[in-house]
Amino acid sequence: MASHTLHQLQNEEMQQQIIKETFQLVSKRDDNVCNFLEGGSLIGGADYKLIYRHYATLYFVFCVDSSESELGILDLIQVFVETLDKCFENVCELDLIFHVDKVHYILNELVMGGMVLETNMTEIITRIDDQNKLEKQEAGLAAAPARAVSAVKNMNLPQQIKDIKLPDLPAAIKDLKF
């Protein structure tokens, strides 16, 4: 199982292909070879490198251009993984699969638009915690079903059916235009 974090790659259609090939390349590599893979045409040419770290069943792969220090990126991956570990309390691959969104949030505090943003783990964790609290106050994702139940109860079904046939156009437009 591999978790990939690819940055600065624009083409949506290519992404799956890249991920597939990257995984094939990286997973075949022996543990006693270096953690750098020099750019194939797929990831944008010679200026780009794949830098990865291998943790048990997980590979963390970063794709960087020549403006980044190879060894520095290895440290950055380490910081990322340690942060994940702290946020999830002994992170395992299932945490990453079931909380992809949270992994993204954490990564977004570490790296932004492909640039290193913050490397201080305590700072990252504090900010993530603060934002999670904010969500809880709003009775975040997890509380949504409760509200939904009450919403269903109050639903006037015939009215609902009418809504389907004739969607509330002005409202839809308002939402769109926001």
Binding site: Q10, S69, D75, T119
Partner: protein
């Protein structure tokens, strides 16, 4: 639902009818719309429990259909959950772009939870090309002005990831304002946003300049790191900015100093090093600012030395900093002592157990080896060790570095290691490695014996991965060093006698040399005892082995033929073997078989002289001039059937000379040769007697030779008389061949020379050509030894273009001798297709007689040429006209055309 039904029961009958219909509709509705959408984690569980890819697709498709439906229903309650599910589906690689609009709606929601998912979706699902960008810009603008720092943060983060040029222009003002925010969390994100904006719209750089400068006085490391990144990008983008930021060098030095001098700070400590990320970024910026600037470099020298000496190198973090320091030292104008220190750090890296550190060390050494060769030399033995590394990337770097380090003093040891490496290397390394070995050996060989030994070892070690140029370089080296030929041929015999026949290059080199110098092998000079029968046996093995390539067999067959003039007892068996090839399936080999058999029967008297040893290839080796040298071996247009010319090249060369000898003529031509300054390298007997002191110095360089050509042309121009007939031999029939050879006019020799030069200009090799011409040059243009340079006849009659249509061009040049006009026609294939079955037919008025010679070829590759000679006897001097019919095949279809040429120059009959 029951409740609904109960209430329906109390209604009037009319109402009931209506409501029944409503009920029906509701059931249908309920079927498609489950009241509670499944949760993200349930979806993930479902997907994970799918046993086959098809099953997974079914789950995803069902869920996607459902999500689409809810989107259409404008279900705002579940939107957040549905988008989250969609993002998971997107991550699995399924199309999810229909969710873009929903993300925008979530962003517009006042709830942070919605915004968070919405912005994440925007980052994942939108890219620069989407029209929705217009819509998101407004939301971003609102959120950038939000009072909640996390909402601002989300907006900045999204902008930093997906900003398009338009968005950049629209939102630059907001970002600039946030860059001055009092909140460090916002400032650092605004800095990255600014970076993205100037990447998209460089004109906006000026606007961020004041705010950027103040970022360096920060305490917060996050802001510092993004600030330094932003400045680095500005410096890279604009020379003005680079000049402007030169003055911050002292600030950067101070920050760096504080970092390394400051004691332990738990906040920024990474494995005992204080914020290595920031250090790396600063070192990088210093390198850009100090590059080519001695003042700035001066300011940094001290701190770089401090970092280089004070950084603890037992962990990756320390080494990351050291690595950047080394790169900076090498890039700026640093003191020499510092540079040595830097290279020594890299030398230490090479000994590090961590393969990543070895890798970056080799990479860096490779970059600096040309600037500081002697400093790198000190780590040679360590670098050689890396040739044995388990990691292919490291081995590749080490190999390149080794070749960069080879010099006259260390070539013996280095080559020994590299040969061991070559032997065990992966196939993809062998070609480059062997070529580089040859180059290095050529440059630094201590003596010829060693050089030959090395090349043979290279050919042997690289097996079938030897590039052609290595084969030809080896042959050439042996050919040109007379003193070592006996030794070489002995060594090669030893190889050949035990060869496994699967490695072609070694067999090719061996057969070539044994063919040429077989006599040395037999007369005991070569330090081996060989029976003639053994040789024949080996050759038979090679010639009939299925593992041997056609090229190898071509080498072997010609070599065997040559041996027929070197051996004493086994000539009969050679004849047998050779004539057996007269029915070989490969047309090239078959032709050789037939031709060579002829030399045993009808032209046995010519065989000996014809198979003389090749003149040594002299001059520059291993570059493009080989083609030219090859051309020297290609002599005389004596034979010109399309295919065999290349083969007989080497044979015809001595032949020609021999015939000149046999007729014992040629004071004139010898004199001419002298005039030509020995353009023919020392070859056949009498000619050599005259010209041997003059070696082929001219041939080594193409430029002077062309001037010699011009001389020849001048000579010809002065002496146009007797040249014509001998110029026009176009038959392969040996009778005619010898006839023309015997024609004792000086023009024959000239002809040879001229053809010679022309064939070098259209360098052509096919099949065995590589035998006589050890060139790596294998363009298979049909040869033509017969191009008569137009300038040749120009002094007398101007040439004409007889035809230029349908991708075919016919040029005609003329020579007049009494009443006979010789038309040299040069056909050029100007199309992009291969031309085959070229046929030119002509008719002239009755008072004239026409004689058509065989064309030099009937096929032409694109832009190749062929020649044909037409002789017209015009005793009554009437104006020349010619009707012609042309046909050829191109792209599988036949092209035909006919016409009349009536614009012959009047000089032809006046």
């Amino acid at each position: 639902m029951n409740k609904a039904r109960d209430s329906l029961g109390t209604m009037s009958s009319i109402k009931q009818v209506i409501n029944d219909a409503v009920e029906k509709g509701k059931e249908v509705y309920e079927k498609v719309r489950q009241p509670n959408p499944i949760r993200l984690r349930d979806l993930i569980r479902q997907i994970r429990s799918a046993k086959t890819a098809a099953e997974e697709r079914a789950v995803v498709n069902r869920e996607c259909a459902y999500i689409r439906l809810t989107f259409r229903e404008e279900d705002s309650v579940w939107r957040c959950r549905n988008v989250a599910k969609l993002l998971y589906i997107h991550m699995l690689g399924y199309p999810a772009h229909f969710g873009q609009m929903e993300c925008l709606k979530l962003i517009a929601s006042p709830r942070f939870t919605d915004k968070r998912i919405g912005y994440l979706g925007a980052m994942l699902l939108l890219d620069e090309r989407q029209d929705v960008h217009l819509l998101i810009t407004n939301s971003l603008k609102n959120d950038l002005n939000s009072s909640t720092q996390f909402v601002q943060g989300l907006a900045l983060c999204t902008l930093g990831a997906i900003a398009s040029p338009e968005m950049s222009r629209d939102l630059a003002g907001e970002v600039e304002r946030l860059l001055k925010s009092s909140n460090a969390y916002i400032r650092k994100k605004a800095a990255v946003c600014a970076l993205r904006i100037i990447l998209k719209v460089p004109e906006l750089m000026e606007m961020f300049l004041p705010a950027t400068r103040s970022l360096l006085s920060e305490k917060n490391h996050g802001v510092l790191i993004t600030g330094v990144t932003l400045i680095t990008e500005m410096c890279l983008q604009s020379p003005d900015m680079l000049a402007h930021f030169k003055k911050i060098v002292p600030n950067l030095v101070r920050i760096l100093k504080n970092l390394i001098m400051a004691g332990y700070s738990p906040e920024h400590d990474v494995q005992g090093v204080s914020d290595p990320f920031l250090q790396v970024k600063i070192l990088k910026l210093l390198r850009i600012l100090g590059c080519g600037d001695s003042d700035a470099s001066e300011t940094m020298n001290d701190i770089l030395a401090q970092v280089a000496t004070n950084t603890e190198s037992s962990k990756n973090v320390g080494n990351a900093i050291l690595y950047e320091t080394v790169l900076s030292i090498m890039d700026i104008k640093s003191e020499s002592g510092l540079r040595v220190l830097a290279i020594n750090i890299l030398g230490r890296f090479l000994l590090n157990a961590d393969k990543n550190i070895r890798y970056v060390a080799l990479n860096t050494l490779l970059r600096v080896v040309h600037a500081d060769n002697s400093a790198v030399q000190r780590h040679r033995s360590t670098i050689l060790e890396c040739l044995k590394d388990a990691d292919i990337s490291i081995r590749k770097r080490a190999m390149e570095l080794c070749f960069a380090l080879i010099n006259g003093n260390n070539i013996r040891t280095m080559m020994k290691e590299l040969l061991t490496f070559l032997e065990n290397a992966e196939p993809e390394f062998k070609a480059t490695c062997s070529s580089k070995c040859v180059l290095a050996a050529e440059k630094y060989s201590p003596n010829v014996r060693w050089h030959i030994d090395t090349l043979l070892k290279v050919v042997e070690a690289a097996g079938n991965h030897v590039p052609d140029d290595v084969v030809s370089s080896t042959i050439q080296l042996i050919s040109e060093t007379r003193a070592e030929q006996a030794y070489a041929v002995g060594e090669l015999w030893r190889h050949l006698s035990v060869a496994q026949l699967e490695f072609q290059p070694m067999i090719q080199v061996s057969t070539w040399c044994i063919g040429e110098f077989g006599d040395l092998l037999l007369n005991g000079q070569a330090d081996v005892t060989v029976e003639e029968t053994q040789i024949i046996e080996i050759y038979q093995k090679i010639l009939w082995a299925s593992q041997c390539s056609i090229t190898t067999k071509e080498y072997a067959l010609t070599s065997l033929m040559k041996l027929s003039a070197r051996l004493n007892q086994e000539v009969g068996s050679i004849q047998q073997v050779v004539s057996a090839f007269g029915s070989h399936l490969n047309i090239e080999l078959q032709q050789r078989g037939i031709e060579y058999s002829q030399l045993f029967t009808r032209h046995n008297h010519m065989r000996g002289p014809l198979l003389e040893r090749m003149p040594p290839f002299e001059g520059v080796r291993g570059n493009g001039t080989e083609g030219e040298k090859g051309g020297i071996a290609i002599t005389n247009g004596l034979d010109n059937s399309p295919d065999n010319q290349s083969l007989l090249n080497d044979l015809s060369s001595p032949n020609n000379n021999n015939n000149i000898n046999s007729t014992h003529e040629n004071n004139e031509s010898n004199a001419l040769l002298l005039l030509l300054g020995g353009i023919e390298p020392g070859e056949g007997d009498t000619v050599q007697a005259v010209t041997s002191p003059a070696t082929s110095t001219i041939n080594a360089t193409p430029a002077p030779r062309s001037t010699v050509n011009a001389d020849i042309l001048d000579l010809l121009g002065l002496e146009p008389g007797p040249t014509a007939p001998s110029n026009t031999t176009t038959s392969t029939s040996p009778a005619q061949l010898s006839h023309t050879n015997n024609s004792s006019s000086p023009a024959l020799l000239l002809d040879g020379l001229l053809n010679n030069t022309s064939s070098t200009t259209t360098t052509t090799t096919a099949g065995i050509a590589s035998l006589s011409t050890p060139t790596a040059n294998s363009t298979t243009l049909p040869t033509n030894n017969f191009i008569i340079p137009q300038s040749l006849s120009q002094p007398s009659v101007p040439g004409i273009v007889a035809y230029d249509k349908n991708g075919m061009k016919l040029d005609m040049t003329f020579e007049i001798q009494d009443s006979v006009t010789t038309i040299n026609m040069l056909a050029t294939n100007t199309s992009l297709a291969q031309v085959t079955d070229f046929l030119f037919q002509a008719a002239v008025p009755k008072s004239l007689q026409l004689q058509m010679m065989t064309p030099s070829s009937t096929s032409m590759a694109p832009s190749a040429t062929l020649t044909q000679v037409i002789k017209v006897n015009n005793p009554s001097k009437v104006p020349l006209r010619m009707r012609m019919r042309l046909s050829w095949q191109a792209n599988g279809s036949v092209v035909q055309d006919q016409g009349e040429i009536s614009h012959f120059p009047p000089a032809l009959w006046q």
